[in-house]
């Protein structure tokens, strides 16, 4: 592979781990599921849309757990920062020596996660206009509330698209204007770090498994109408 590739600035030997496998799998599965959800909604595949939504919900719940107890770069405590950190990052011309999310990228991650949570959350209470398909919690609220949730579920998706657009545009800008490859590390998990910079401290595989099992269990409970709330 290296023989046919053009000469590279970076030496793969110095690359360090920055994103763990669970985080990368989460990211790319989410990309696929959100894309399919969009397609299914536009093409009246409501039953498929519901299942995709359950998938997205499971992923988001998993990410919460992994953000609390996962690898160092996946933890919220490592990338949730105040506006001061963002401002100084911009003043420093986007220089970020550490492994993990830079302050602006962290904002993008948080905005995307929050928006996805709101969209999935409103979807749980939504119903299609014919009343043939509805989210698993729609029966807990009045038809009026459900209609409002449906409207939000549809309208907020446009905001999600804007956030996704910004996310992708930023990655392109970093590549074109700053010469930094952000896409590669999200695929391989590795990036070149400056000497002396601590690489990712990997989380435990069994913690990831517990997070996944818990996420699926909570999702199943919600699919079941969140008993005993409905009784």
């Amino acid at each position: 592979m290296t023989s046919t590739a053009p000469p590279r600035r970076t030496d793969t030997a110095t690359k360090q781990r920055v994103w763990d496998l669970p985080t990368r799998l989460f990211h790319w599965t989410l990309v696929v599921l959100v894309g399919l959800s969009w397609w299914s909604a536009e093409n009246d595949q409501q039953d498929l849309h519901l299942y995709l939504g359950y998938g997205v919900l499971s992923l988001l719940l998993f990410r919460i757990g992994w953000g609390l107890a996962g690898s160092s770069t996946a933890r919220f405590s490592s990338f949730v920062r105040g506006p001061g950190a963002v401002a100084s990052y911009v003043r420093n011309r986007f220089h970020w020596p550490l492994a993990g999310h830079a302050p602006l990228g962290a904002l993008s991650v948080l905005a995307l996660l929050a928006m996805l949570f709101v969209i999935v959350g409103t979807g749980l209470f939504a119903a299609d206009e014919d009343g043939l398909f509805s989210g698993p919690l729609a029966y807990l609220v009045s038809v009026g509330v459900s209609d409002t949730m449906t409207g939000l579920h549809e309208e907020l998706f446009d905001i999600l698209l804007v956030l996704i657009g910004l996310h992708v545009a930023a990655i392109l800008l970093y590549r074109l204007a700053l010469g930094r490859n952000l896409l590669g590390p999200m695929i391989t998990g590795k990036a070149e770090l400056e000497p002396g910079v601590e690489p990712m401290r990997a989380g435990k595989w069994w913690v990831a498994l517990i997070c996944l099992v818990a996420a699926i269990a909570i999702t199943r409970w919600i699919i079941g109408g969140a008993p005993p709330l409905g009784t």
Binding site: D44, E129, D130, G131, L132, V143, S146
Partner: protein
């Protein structure tokens, strides 16, 4: 909104409704009835304002169907469904269903207000009438089941009702506009 024209339209709609309420064995031969054709001729002269009013009224009726099916769906998901609420919604649907065809006056297709009625409705009137008839039958059967109060039967007939909605919407309803 022009009241007198609406009354005229409602009268035509009622006529169409009477026809649709005839026993199933007679209605099996689904050819646009004389009444429907009269409705078509009468409605062909709709002014833009009238067309808008017809499309808007149709949308309200369709939303009423949606409200009713959502209520029923919610009840059926509850651990103890409120059968009385289901009966009420079933009666509303069965009441409105026979009038459905009359809400589709020519000149009220896509482009008129928020109308999502595809032009195919008026290009394939036999098929449209057949599907409207299927819906009406399903609505009556669902009402009978609801009045009987047997939940298993209610669920089966409700599913059939949903399919009859979808059969028509898949072919003759344009996607929702933003």
């Amino acid at each position: 909104m022009n009241r007198s024209h609406l009354y005229l339209f409602c009268a035509v709609a009622l006529l169409a409704g009477c026809k649709a309420q005839e026993p199933a064995n007679q209605a099996n031969a689904v050819i646009p009835s004389a009444e429907t054709q009269n409705a078509a001729t009468a409605a062909a002269t709709l002014t833009p304002d009238q067309a808008l009013a017809v499309a808007k009224e149709r949308e309200e009726h369709m939303e009423a169907f949606g409200d009713a099916t959502k209520k029923i769906g919610n009840e059926l998901k509850a651990s103890k469904p409120d059968v009385a609420a289901i009966q009420q919604s079933a009666a509303k649907i069965a009441d409105l269903a026979p009038k459905l065809q009359s809400w589709f006056a020519p000149g009220t297709a896509e482009g008129v207000g928020k109308s999502r009625a595809k032009a195919e409705i008026w290009q394939k009137p036999e098929d449209f009438a057949l599907k409207a008839h299927d819906f009406e039958t399903a609505a009556q059967e669902f009402k009978v089941a609801a009045d009987r109060g047997d939940l298993t039967q209610i669920k089966t007939t409700f599913e059939a009702l949903g399919k009859s909605c979808k059969a028509c919407h898949d072919l003759y309803r344009a996607p929702k506009k933003d």
